[in-house]
């Protein structure tokens, strides 16, 4: 099959998917105009689109975006440094690792973000509450993936190191750690995604911050098209963040 035909064949389902989505939106528009769906519950898609401009102009979208991003970056930085360091430290002693790994996995399955009222009391209604919750909630996967990466070095690679009479320090930094890096990156990426989810969520809940707060505020003002538009913004940022981190992960792992 020619290259052109292959590309066409690959594009068909994608186009189909997008077309279905647009058709759905158009259908909703029609149903609302026909009076079959209550416009006070589901605003017209055309109204939503028009409110985008208003939102951008009047609601300081850019500063909000930067605030949310700033919180996410700060939390991600803290996550990576703390998570990898703790993982490395825990890995050094087999007994410590055995004792703590299952506990950390258990903590990871608990709804840690529910502690946000507690953090509100400690840090007040500020960006630090948001950053700290994201940090705490997203820390376990980074630690666990770091541990997993370090523990799952293929034994033959360690044998190679021993056969070349590497010192323990060389063995660690030239073989164990590089071998663990792909898994560690997966953990950092997971952590960053959890962090963003929690950040936007808590911004919404405590009505402070960037994009999450915007959704809450518009909802409280009963600005329905605006609320929907703000939700779209949140989805957009989240998707871009997800794709971006995916690309970075792929770029950092050349041999895969």
């Amino acid at each position: 099959m020619s290259a052109g035909a292959t590309i066409r064949r690959e594009a068909v389902p994608v186009v189909f998917g997008v077309a279905c989505l647009l058709a759905l939106v158009a259908l909703i528009e029609v149903l609302i105009r026909a009076g079959l769906i209550n416009p006070f519950i589901v605003p017209k898609p055309s109204d939503i689109v028009m409110s985008f401009e208003r939102i951008i102009m009047e609601e300081n979208i850019l500063p909000r975006f930067f605030l949310t991003c700033g919180e996410a970056l700060m939390a991600s930085l803290m996550l990576s440094v703390a998570g990898i360091s703790i993982g490395v430290l825990l890995h050094k002693s087999r007994i410590v690792r055995l004792a703590t790994e299952t506990w950390i996995a258990a903590v990871a399955s608990a709804p840690l973000v529910l502690m946000y009222p507690l953090f509100l009391v400690i840090f007040g209604r500020s960006a630090w509450t948001i950053i700290m919750i994201a940090f705490v909630a997203a820390l376990p996967p980074v630690i666990l993936k770091t541990l997993e990466g370090l523990s799952s070095t293929r034994p033959v690679l360690i044998d190679v190191g021993r056969s070349f009479k590497l010192t323990p320090s060389q063995l660690y930094w030239k073989i164990l750690f590089p071998s663990a890096l792909p898994t560690i990156f997966v953990g950092v990426r997971l952590g960053m995604i959890f962090a963003l989810i929690n950040i936007v969520g808590v911004e919404f809940l405590i009505n402070f911050g960037g994009l999450g707060q915007l959704v809450n505020e518009l909802a409280e003002r009963y600005d329905l098209p605006g609320t929907y538009a703000a939700i779209c913004f949140v989805i957009l940022v989240s998707v871009l963040f997800f794709i971006g981190t995916e690309r970075i992960e792929r770029w950092l792992r050349p041999g895969t």
Binding site: S163, Q170, S179, G255
Partner: protein, 273 residues
């Protein structure tokens, strides 16, 4: 009969393991010598303790009776004069081919420019020129084993110790890589100890072959391979080759059959309870 002073002396190695089924003797009083420049193969069925022997000689395993000396010195862990090539995939996936091969030079503290040049020499030796900057994931299995080989050769060991390095490859690739190994060994006059279960490979490459029994692994027979040198894989079609293979197979078959029966007995016993 080898006349020169042996470079590797394996004396009365006994290695036992504790398992759920009791004490297992993997290697039972194995002794042999290797002289400089020779290619010695140790062949035996699965379960004859060959890999244990590999790890013992390589210094990766302790807790055994007997001793191993290299150039008169008893080993205490991996010895600098022994280079090991493993059966499994052992290239570092995060390093390029040249960085893999230059690894032992990097450890030895050699400067970057120098070790790239030395590394190139060994990449050339295994026939992988042009692939210096590739990552192992981009290469085939056979090519990756060649990278591992080049990496070990780059440390210029006095003795090359290999554990079934071609086990994962298909027969034709194996024969051709065998040619490469022969050529390198003959060029470098590299003392080589090969652990294998592959009969044709052993006869193709070796000066002498040690046949081991099934567990507990003892030396059953020592066979001198008087095929002409230099050799290539074409030797496989000669009559003498066939005779050696037949001779060694009769020994091997007996041991391999023991191994099979033992395996069946163990598994059958568990099921009937």
């Amino acid at each position: 009969m080898p006349a020169a002073d042996p470079i590797l002396v394996v004396e009365n190695i006994v290695k036992r393991f504790e398992t759920q089924d009791g004490v297992l003797t993997a290697v039972d009083d194995v002794s042999f010598n290797v002289v400089p420049g020779e290619f010695l193969s140790v062949i035996g069925p699965s379960g004859c303790g060959k890999s244990t022997l590999f790890n013992v000689i390589g210094g990766l395993m302790g807790g055994y009776d007997g001793r191993v000396t290299v150039g008169g010195e008893t080993i205490r862990g991996p010895h600098a004069s022994i280079g090991m090539i493993f059966q499994e995939e052992s290239t570092f996936p995060w390093r390029t081919v040249i960085d893999n091969v230059a690894f032992p030079l990097e450890i030895a503290g050699m400067g970057k420019a120098e070790r790239i040049e030395r590394g190139r020499h060994f990449i050339d030796l295994v026939g992988l020129n042009g692939f210096e900057r590739r990552y192992p994931a981009e290469l085939s299995g056979g090519m990756r084993q060649r990278v591992s080989m080049a990496r070990t050769l780059a440390s210029e060991p006095k003795i090359l110790l290999m554990d079934e390095p071609f086990a994962a490859l298909d027969e034709q690739t194996r024969l051709l890589l065998g040619d490469k190994v022969l050529q390198i060994q003959q060029d470098l006059k590299q003392t080589t100890l090969l652990i294998t279960h592959n009969l044709t490979e052993a006869v193709q490459l070796s000066d002498r072959i040690l046949v081991m029994t099934y567990r507990p692994g003892k030396l059953k027979r020592l066979v001198e391979i008087r095929l002409p040198r230099p050799r290539t894989s074409e030797i496989v079609s000669s009559d003498d080759f066939g005779r050696y293979v037949a001779q060694i197979w009769s020994d091997l078959r007996e041991e391999a059959t023991k191994g099979l029966k033992d395996d069946e007995a163990r598994r059958g016993g568990e099921k009937s309870s």
